[in-house]
């Protein structure tokens, strides 16, 4: 194990990769069907988040703002702007749920959103997500926890064939779907919370919706308490799983830090076999495991000579680093947006919370970059190979259809990384040859 630093020593962030808690909250609410996320803050917080996700998913994003101004920031405790916002939203559309969450501005002035939510005569979930604390991943996690605490009914009976899946924020829509399908293949009924696989998966609907256009329904959320099992993926989802267990003490909890690579997927299969009592997994899964094994062998030569920088949310980098390490790639730098217990278990020469300026200073430590669109400039400047992952990935299409998880996605992921690493070597080798022939 290498060096792990949990906090940055600099006074500022230069070329940040950290994203904010309210943005994580927005995304979580968008995984609930016909929901309207309502950001309690200045209109810019909302506008930035809307543009950010629109560009990442190439989809319209439903979101509204309480539009706090300098005047209301002083005169209003939040209740009047929240009540007015809900009135204005419900004049035009009828959401199944309002997803109320705060920002740095309204946390600084100390608004009581719980009190304000009580004044609203409409289904509403509230959550405190200051953007001067945590990050996108924790904002998502806090929101899921709030949804569970405020909506799920207490139950005592369990349905052993029902599973609640709690995915972390970095799982793209198709990954949520693939994991749901994987679990369902064991004969289990799965409900994901949130479920981006039916809302932001980039499907062409009948018409443009002003609310989230899919996701888990509010009725399904009410009834999550009768599930026999809750599966949480990612350290950020532990609290949400614990909140759900409080709704029904008979529920069992399976936690996985991630589901990337052979070993992690094997663990999930073992646990699912234990849940169902079956001896063997479905044939399709067995086949994909063999394909992954083969890809691991095919890609190990390229990746075994590659040093990698993985940048992103902690739950994502934990999984990606593990999958790459399994085929001998060396993680030169695991760069995390925020601190997390995940960081201590990542196998890397260096694990740190930081920004892309830190990554730039350490550029001699890696050849392949795995990170968001902001790492592209860095990769080009220093001639590194690049695989785009994480938030945001602008200017590319198909982010929601990228699958890196389980046996199947793991195979795709290793192929893409190995090909990128090899192309990168060809390019730098080509450049050297051109220099040599020019000199000769």
């Amino acid at each position: 194990m290498g060096e792990v630093s949990h906090r940055t020593e600099k006074p500022l962030q230069v070329n940040p990769i950290r994203l904010s808690q309210p943005m994580g909250a927005v995304l979580a609410f968008l995984g609930v069907d016909r929901c309207m996320p309502l950001m309690h803050g200045g209109m810019g917080c909302t506008s930035f988040s809307k543009v950010f996700f629109t560009r990442h998913f190439c989809e319209p994003i439903a979101i509204q703002t309480t539009a706090v101004t300098d005047v209301t920031a002083i005169l209003d405790g939040g209740d009047s702007s929240i009540v007015e916002a809900v009135q204005n939203i419900t004049k035009k559309v009828t959401p199944s749920l309002i997803g109320l969450h705060t920002t740095g501005l309204t946390e600084t002035k100390g608004d009581d959103i719980r009190g304000a939510a009580k004044q609203v005569n409409f289904p509403i979930v509230y959550v405190n997500t200051a953007d001067y604390e945590g990050g996108m991943e924790s904002g998502w996690g806090k929101t899921v926890k709030a949804i569970i605490e405020q909506l799920v009914e207490v139950r005592s009976e369990v349905r052993t064939d029902k599973v609640v899946l709690l995915p972390h924020v970095s799982m793209q829509p198709i990954e949520v779907e693939k994991l749901k399908d994987f679990i369902a293949m064991f004969g289990l009924e799965v409900v994901a919370l949130p479920d981006l696989s039916t809302s932001l998966d980039g499907h062409l609907g009948e018409k443009q919706s002003t609310l989230s256009s899919g996701g888990v329904s509010v009725e399904e959320i009410f009834c999550l308490g009768d599930a026999g099992t809750v599966i949480s993926i990612g350290a950020s989802m532990q609290f949400s799983a614990e909140a759900l267990l409080k709704k029904n003490p008979g529920m069992q909890h399976i936690h996985l830090d991630h589901v990337q690579g052979l070993a992690a997927t094997d663990t999930l299969v073992e646990k699912l076999l234990a849940v169902t009592g079956a001896k063997l997994p479905p044939l399709g899964i067995v086949r994909w495991r063999k394909r992954l094994q083969d890809v691991m062998l095919d890609s190990h030569f390229a990746l075994g000579q590659t040093r990698v920088m993985v940048a992103g949310e902690p739950d994502f980098i934990a999984g990606a680093c593990q999958a790459l390490s399994e085929v001998g790639a060396r993680i030169g730098l695991a760069l995390s947006t925020v601190d997390s217990p995940q960081l201590d278990s990542i196998e890397a020469a260096r694990v740190m919370v930081g920004d892309l300026e830190d990554a730039e200073k350490l550029q001699a430590e890696y050849d392949l970059v795995i990170g968001n669109v902001h790492t592209e400039t860095l990769a080009h400047r220093f001639g590194k190979a690049l695989v785009l992952r994480g938030f945001p990935c602008w200017e590319v299409v198909g982010n929601q259809l990228k699958n890196d998880l389980l046996y199947e996605g793991g195979a795709y992921f290793l192929c893409e990384a190995a090909n990128a690493a090899e192309a990168g070597r060809m390019n730098s080798h080509g450049a050297e040859c051109r220099v040599l022939s020019a000199e000769g």
Partner: protein, 450 residues
């Protein structure tokens, strides 16, 4: 604090036509029914193109974490392009409780040491404005210690819209930079370009022509801009306001303070480009220059017409519906007409009074000015038999339903449509849109729906 701009005064802009009828200025926001960016974003748009200056955002993560490296504003600055970098104090709960001034000062020092910028712009945000950090004092002290301009920008998001933020940014430049340095030489044809951000290199489509005429761009706010140049802006003979109503306060104030006249121009489309270049020459008031300008325009227009011949063949008899915002409601309409496309309707939902007047001028009596394009455009397409819809992504469904060609107006954020050469880019994109069968193909019925 004398340094802080007076917001009420900025909202009551005498250069804006609508302020004669409205009392609330540009500032009204409604909880639950508001779209659009904040004042900070407006300031960022207006000032970030100074690539030789560092732009330090004093606030929590959302402000710059979600917004750095988002706009393709190009620069010829040979040093590191600081426009495309994100600097933020990324304040924590500790700073909220105890104040963020020390952290801000340490951040400025760090930037000066590691990036040697020509200046540092320091942006206040909602949170740091609320907790009362005195960014003026920090900037003043840092400027003394480092000997480069430190410009406080008071445009926290919650004071208003993007538009207001742009004005506040202009105010910061006017107060802190303009008039603080003398140019090495001056010429009788020195101009400032105000509100030109050189997105996708728009500005470079016409500045070579200005140069050819002997017109010197002394400084810009802020496309391909330099801090050292904008400091000398008070010596220009003319301010040229480019397609940007939001910055109108600035040339007006410079006229009052320094006696510099201004003209307002647009460089979208052939007619507007020609009119813009000529307006600059005429305002500079030199007969020889005006003569040479007319010659240059004739030459450029002839060359362009030659290049447009194959496109005009394709566009003949084609009708378009335009759904976009602000000054684009007429500037793009004008460009489309230059290509021989009939514009049957344009959206004026977000346009100012002046923009609406101009849109009416360009479209004539028959053209429809849509005030609620979302509801109107489908019907207008049916009524007019339009062939092309130019709009934002939101209108995709209309194009699919009506099975007509669609062009994303926001492509201009990736590719320049400015000047004469930009019109060729627009023509090529529209040709591709009209020829692309995807909207018809996507609208195919599924076999199980037949």
């Amino acid at each position: 604090m004398a340094n802080k701009p007076k917001i009420r005064e900025l909202l009551d802009e005498s250069g804006c036509a609508h302020n004669k009828t409205k009392t609330s200025g540009c500032n009204a926001t409604v909880p639950g029914a508001t779209t659009g960016g904040c004042a900070f974003e407006g300031a960022q748009i207006s000032l970030f193109p100074y690539a030789d200056a560092a732009h330090l955002v004093h606030g929590p993560m959302t402000c710059v974490g979600a917004s750095w490296e988002t706009r393709l504003t190009r620069t010829s600055w040979p040093g590191r392009d600081l426009t495309q970098m994100g600097f933020t104090t990324g304040i924590s709960i500790n700073d909220v409780v105890f104040g963020g001034e020390e952290k801000l000062r340490a951040s400025i020092d760090y930037i000066v040491e590691h990036y040697a910028p020509q200046a540092v712009f320091v942006y206040s945000t909602c949170v740091t404005a609320m907790i009362g950090d005195d960014i003026d004092a920090v900037c003043r002290q840092a400027q003394q210690d480092h000997g480069i301009p430190m410009v406080p920008v008071h445009a926290p998001g919650f004071v208003g819209s993007k538009n207001l933020g742009s004005r506040l940014a202009g105010e910061a430049v006017l107060t802190n930079l303009i008039g603080t340095l003398e140019p090495e030489v001056t010429t009788p044809f020195d101009i400032n370009l105000i509100g030109e951000y050189n997105v996708t290199g728009d500005m470079w489509q016409y500045t070579p022509l200005l140069e050819e005429l002997g017109i010197r761009v002394l400084s810009t706010l802020s496309g391909d801009g330099r801090v050292a140049s904008i400091r000398t802006a008070h010596r220009a003979k003319l301010n040229v306001l480019v397609c940007a109503k939001s910055l109108i306060s600035m040339p007006r104030k410079m006229q009052e303070q320094y006696g510099i006249p201004y003209v307002s121009v647009s460089f979208y489309g052939k007619r507007d480009t020609s009119a813009g270049i000529l307006a600059i020459a005429e305002a500079l008031g030199n007969a020889d220059l005006i003569g040479r300008t007319r010659q240059l325009i004739a030459r450029e227009e002839a060359r362009l017409e030659q290049q447009l011949i194959p496109y005009k063949e394709i566009f003949r008899g084609k009708k378009a519906v335009l759904n976009t915002g602000g000054n684009k409601s007429w500037s793009i309409a004008s460009a489309l007409q230059d290509l021989g496309i009939e514009v049957v309707a344009t959206s004026v939902k977000k346009a100012t009074e002046v923009d609406k007047e101009k849109a009416r001028q360009y479209l004539g009596d028959k053209g429809v000015l849509m005030t609620n394009p979302g509801a109107q455009q489908a019907k207008i397409i049916d009524e007019t038999g339009a062939d092309l819809l130019l709009a934002g992504g939101r209108s995709l469904y209309t194009a699919i339903k009506k099975r007509i060609a669609f062009a994303d107006v926001n492509q201009e954020k990736k590719k320049s449509y400015g000047g004469y050469a930009g019109l060729l880019n627009l023509a090529e994109d529209l040709k591709n849109a009209l020829e692309n069968p995807v909207f018809k193909n996507v609208a195919r019925r599924a076999p199980w729906e037949k």
